[in-house]
């Protein structure tokens, strides 16, 4: 074992000296390599952190949401539907919700207006998300003016701002009183936006959703799993979009890496001949080149991944935020919780480190099988 370790130590020593000979070229390669790993890892870390964040937020979301559809579009739902839903066996609770979107033409931003069920909002006041507060420079006591469906101006006084922890989905949220909401959007008293449903046994969510669909044919039933899948799809799509944009850069790097790794110069071939002549076996030469490839690619991987981690969790992915994060003008501003997924690290490593090492070894293997007597000629 000691002998093996000493042997590897000798090979690594020589590899480092060997790499330092072409310092400029190798440093350039490591820099480009690091940049590629940095971008890929940033996208992966950011996407994963957002998905985790969304999943955490959605864990408090209702198990089932029931919405009425008219001509394939979401419409208000009569409050009478509440009784039909409550009558279904397995339903613990059915609650009406009032929410909608408001487009602020001054800021070209969408707000989500909602009547909360867990707190009381005094008529004429509003509790707003941090993004709205930031954009409108609003704090408790600041008046906000919103234009209603009928062209009437509504005045709200900011009562409070929402906790930043919930900012991913609450950044653009504005909580208002039921009376104000109905007046703003001209919604009659016997109608609501949608209905949330809680079930006794979470394993029966699917069955109850089917029962609701059968009982009320004009509704759409959305389960928490459906919402989670939609978020996943949205983030995956964004991630994919960035990755597709990166394909050009990745290809350019692959060409550079292939050229560096696979093209053995006459000098390198001569060196291999000398090493074999002085007693190195073909396997020793390949092992040394493996170390060379591993040192370059692992250095780039570690630096790239560490920088990506810092970028995503230290600087909130400042470079990719607009592409990956907000789906509205009001980009949520919140710190992502640091997390590293071993499978993801492994995948990235297989995609970036392994091809480079293989590209290094194949031509060396071919060159190393030449007769050592070339050193004499």
């Amino acid at each position: 074992m000691n002998r093996w370790i000493e042997r590897q130590r000798c090979l690594v020593d020589f590899t480092v000296s060997s790499l330092l000979r072409r310092r400029g070229k190798n440093l350039g390669l490591i820099l480009v390599y690091t940049a590629i790993v940095f971008v890929l890892a940033s996208v992966m870390l950011f996407g994963q952190a957002l998905r985790r964040e969304a999943a955490a937020v959605l864990s408090h979301a209702p198990e089932i949401v029931v919405q009425r559809m008219v001509a394939g579009r979401h419409d208000t739902i009569p409050t009478a539907y509440l009784d039909s839903i409550r009558a279904i066996r397995g339903v613990v609770q059915a609650e009406a919700r009032l929410w909608g979107y408001y487009f602020d033409p001054g800021l070209s931003a969408n707000y989500t207006l909602m009547v909360p069920t867990d707190r009381v909002v005094e008529p004429g006041t509003a509790t707003i998300g941090h993004a709205i507060a930031r954009l409108r420079d609003a704090r408790a006591g600041t008046p906000l003016f919103l234009l209603s469906e009928r062209g009437k101006m509504h005045k709200f006084t900011v009562a409070a701002t929402l906790e930043p922890d919930s900012e991913l989905v609450a950044a653009d949220l504005m909580l208002v009183a039921e009376r104000d909401f109905r007046s703003m959007f001209a919604i009659p008293a016997d109608a609501v936006t949608d209905i949330t449903v809680s079930v006794r046994n979470p394993r029966e969510v699917g069955t109850i959703a089917t029962k609701i669909s059968r009982a009320l044919p004009d509704v759409r039933v959305i389960t928490r799993g459906d919402i989670l899948r939609t978020y996943e799809a949205a983030f995956n799509w964004r991630e994919g979009m960035v990755l597709v944009l990166m394909v050009g850069a990745v290809l350019a790097f692959l060409i550079l890496a292939w050229d560096k790794a696979s093209g053995l110069s006459a000098e390198e071939r001569r060196e291999i001949g000398i090493l074999k002549a002085v007693g190195w076996e073909t396997s020793d030469v390949i092992r040394q080149k493996l170390w060379e490839g591993a040192l370059i690619s692992l250095t780039a991987f570690l630096f790239g991944y560490a920088l990506a981690y810092l970028h995503v969790f230290g600087f909130d992915a400042a470079l990719f935020e607009p592409a990956l994060k907000g789906w509205a003008v009001l980009y949520p501003r919140f710190g992502l919780r640091p997390s590293v997924d071993a499978f993801q690290v492994g995948t990235l490593m297989v995609l970036t480190v392994l091809p480079y090492i293989l590209a290094t070894v194949v031509p060396v293997w071919r060159a190393a099988t030449i007769d050592p007597d070339m050193a004499m000629r």
Partner: protein
């Protein structure tokens, strides 16, 4: 004792550019002596040296080292014999550029995986013995011809081989450096090592330290001259 029996080496066999570099050479090389293979360029002396030093296999014939036939051994075993038995000083010294003199000297011992500290001390001692104190950190390409050759000799000695093979060792040296080289040959011979050199330099062939000169032409032995 190294014994060659009817050894032939043909390059590009069966092709239009087939070349018979060594043709039916039979030769015994005794231990502890200095043997010079002499001949003009293209006479086959370097090829014969590669066959003796396990750098290549003969096309036909037998090469025996201490009675053991090594002419048809697989590459792995040939490498092992080459590493433990032979030390090489190449014509252009073949040092690896860009790395230090010390590292160049230590290179042949790396695959053995011995104690790194001990190896380093051994390499430094060899450099000191060959008058290269203070050059251990210098890069190989910064050395003069004489220094480069002494580094090549140190590298050849790092695994303590009993046979030293040198191809045209004085081809790139002036008279003073050639004399210095022959002094080193004398020291190595005194240690009981076998030395096999190729040269067409009269300063080498006629040196008192040389025991035997074997003349070659067109891949064959012409004359075997025992001088001492």
């Amino acid at each position: 004792m190294i014994r060659l029996n009817d050894v032939t080496k043909v390059f590009n066999q069966g092709r239009h550019n087939e070349h018979r570099a060594v043709a039916g050479v039979t030769l015994d090389i005794e231990d502890g002596r200095v043997t010079v293979l002499r001949g003009p360029s293209g006479s086959g002396k370097t090829t014969l040296l590669t066959l003796i030093g396990c750098l290549a296999r003969p096309t036909s014939g037998r090469v025996r080292l201490d009675g053991r036939d090594i002419s048809s051994l697989p590459e792995r075993f040939l490498t092992e014999i080459r590493r433990s038995t032979f030390g090489f000083v190449f014509q252009r010294f073949n040092l690896i550029h860009g790395v230090s003199v010390l590292e160049n000297v230590m290179l042949p011992a790396y695959p053995l995986g011995g104690d790194h500290g001990a190896l380093r001390r051994r390499a430094l001692a060899l450099l000191a013995r060959l008058g290269l104190n203070g050059k251990s950190d210098a890069r190989a390409e910064w050395l003069s011809g004489g220094e480069a050759q002494r580094v090549a000799i140190a590298r050849a000695l790092i695994n303590d081989p009993r046979v030293i093979i040198a191809d045209e060792p004085t081809a790139n040296l002036d008279t003073a450096l050639s004399r210095a080289f022959l002094d080193i040959v004398g020291e190595l011979k005194a240690e009981g090592r076998t030395l096999i050199l190729t040269s067409h330099d009269p300063r080498v062939c006629e040196a008192p330290v040389v025991d035997r000169v074997v003349t070659m032409r067109d891949g064959e032995l012409v004359r075997d001259l025992v001088e001492a």
